[in-house]
């Protein structure tokens, strides 16, 4: 498939935004359980939510550039019963709203107790909003990934690993971003967040490498024989029916050589996993905190490369029909 920059930006930006929000709420839960000192003041949550919101909005804006008719984008909420794309379009603004309210509630100190659990734990507004946001953030990971994983004949995508990758990679970049943000906003949380970022990046690396191994072993189900229904071992296309290109020759192929594809694979394995893991580990052992900012940017660029490779590697069966010009 042809990687479209708008989709690469959409999936990576909202992934980081979701991850950052999950990191903020994780800190709140740990603080609630008394495992972490609560961050001083509400600026950490409020500003963090603002950054998460900025990433989500950035992703949404990028997605509009993918549409031929962006002015009709409001129609996309119609078919949520069948379309994962429609579901994503509903969940994304819902998450934005909750993130906005979560940040506002923290900023304004608006923490009315909504309910009290039998154990005596008070559920205040930020806790309720955070829980709702967590559910929505995970739902959004599933929706985004299922857009790709639900297409059975794009076999590189049609795997539970796709959902796992989107979740773990979004979470990893979000926690790295949270760690970088904590350097300025709550230095006492830096090591905690960097630790989780390390764990998530490591899990993401394992899951992404697993999907690389799976995809390398895929054998095509569709062949030229099933494509035109002629059972003969030797079939060669002599003409695709036109000399100039068409939508079919442009949309479904990345247009780069196999060597480029292989290099991008190594680039993203290094930039999205190896380098950030090293930087996060160094930061954990007391290296300058500025490394965490570098870790986020390297990892983000690495994830852009990862997403490019994700699209480029997917081989659409329609390409069987477009192999020879004349």
């Amino acid at each position: 498939m042809r990687p479209d920059l708008s989709v690469l930006l959409l999936t990576t930006l909202i992934g980081a935004g979701q991850g950052l929000f999950l990191a903020l709420f994780t800190v709140q839960l740990y603080a609630l359980a008394g495992l972490l000192p609560p961050p001083s003041g509400h600026a950490f949550y409020a500003h963090g939510s603002l950054i998460a919101l900025a990433f989500l909005v950035g992703g949404l804006i990028a997605s509009f550039f993918h549409l031929g008719r962006p002015e009709r984008a409001w129609r996309t909420a119609a078919k949520w019963r069948t379309s994962w794309l429609s579901r994503e379009v509903i969940v994304l603004p819902a998450l934005m709203g909750v993130v906005f309210l979560y940040g506002t509630a923290h900023l304004a100190g608006w923490t009315p107790v909504l309910a009290t659990l039998p154990s005596g734990l008070a559920i205040d507004a930020t806790l309720a909003l955070g829980t709702a946001g967590t559910v929505l953030a995970f739902a959004l990971f599933v929706c985004t990934a299922m857009i790709y994983a639900c297409l059975p004949f794009l076999r590189e995508w049609a795997s539970p690993l796709t959902v796992l990758n989107y979740t773990l990679l979004g979470g990893a970049s979000g926690f790295t971003l949270a760690a970088a943000f904590a350097v300025a906003a709550a230095p006492e949380l830096t090591r905690f967040l960097a630790g989780w970022a390390f764990v998530l990046t490591l899990l993401g690396a394992v899951s992404r490498v697993a999907s690389l191994i799976r995809n390398a072993r895929l054998k095509p189900k569709s062949t030229l024989q099933t494509a035109i229904g002629i059972k003969h071992p030797r079939i060669a296309q002599k003409s695709m029916g036109f000399l100039g290109g068409s939508f079919n020759t442009r949309e479904f192929f990345h247009g780069r050589s196999g060597a480029v594809l292989r290099s991008v694979k190594w680039v993203f394995l290094l930039a999205a996993f190896a380098v950030p893991l090293t930087l996060l580990a160094l930061a954990g052992f007391g290296a300058p905190a500025g490394l965490l900012v570098a870790a986020f940017f390297v990892q983000y660029l690495g994830l852009l490369a990862e997403r490019w490779f994700f699209f480029a590697q997917a081989n659409h069966p329609q390409n069987l029909y477009y192999q020879a010009v004349a």
């Binding site: 993918h66 078919k79 002629i230 060669a236 068409s246 029909y321």
Partner: protein, 243 residues
């Protein structure tokens, strides 16, 4: 339930592209507006087409067959392009099973084209919406046309009648009979899309000459074998005529 479809006889198709040009002509002239063309007379012409004729070579030289293979939307009975559409612009008609795009609802996200394993959908780069074969829905129900012309433009244009059009759910229709009699098949059955369009395979057409084809068996008087066989010495026909 009606499921309109095309049945394409690969044994008969000669690859003349008449169906391609007639399709383009009809669908670029319709109420939905022209199908975009870019640089139609330039070095790298491109544009939206609903129908293509491709050519494949089967076998190894010198034992090869050239197969011309027309490809358009197959109007799947379980179309994967329909449920993925977020706006409902892509839909399958209950009444006749035609898969259509509502150009006024389409947002041009191209997701349906990703979801079609056959590459049957093409974006119109000028209107910025997805387009595809409509089975000439604006032709086949047009009461102002003579009844014989209420067929898709490609079917009308085919000089060898390689394209049949009808309801594959009606067992007595011409398409159902053709599928039954000539082992009609579907493309990429492995994805469970159940394409409505079927293809008829190449068939061997050997020539058998039987004895009874040399003698006239349909002569009601059975006189072929009874004709006089005059000896050489007897008068020839000329001699008889000159009497």
């Amino acid at each position: 339930m009606t499921q309109l479809a095309l049945v394409i006889d690969l044994n008969v198709c000669v690859g003349c592209h008449a169906c391609v040009t007639s399709c383009k002509q009809w669908n670029t002239s319709g109420a939905a507006g022209p199908l975009a063309d870019f640089e139609p007379y330039g070095k790298d012409p491109t544009g939206a087409f609903f129908n293509r004729v491709q050519t494949f070579e089967v076998g190894e030289f010198p034992n090869t067959q050239t197969v011309h293979f027309p490809k358009s939307c197959l109007h799947c009975e379980d179309p994967p392009c329909v449920p993925v559409c977020p706006t409902g612009a892509s839909y399958k008609r209950e009444a006749d099973g035609i898969v259509l795009v509502d150009y006024d609802k389409c947002i041009g996200c191209k997701y349906c084209s990703w979801a079609c394993p056959y590459g049957a959908r093409e974006v119109d780069e000028e209107r910025k919406v997805m387009t595809k074969c409509t089975l000439c829905v604006d032709r086949i129900y047009d009461q102002t046309l003579p009844e014989g012309e209420r067929r898709p433009a490609c079917v009308m244009a085919c000089p060898t009648s390689a394209r049949l059009f009808g309801d594959i759910h009606d067992p007595e229709s011409v398409v159902s009979q053709a599928i039954r009699d000539n082992a009609g098949y579907q493309l990429m059955p492995e994805w469970g899309t159940h394409p409505a369009n079927h293809y008829l395979p190449r068939r061997k057409t050997p020539m058998h000459i039987h004895e009874d084809e040399l003698a006239r068996t349909d002569n009601p008087l059975k006189v072929d074998g009874l004709l006089p066989k005059p000896a050489k010495s007897e008068p020839s026909l000329d001699d008889v005529m000159s009497w």
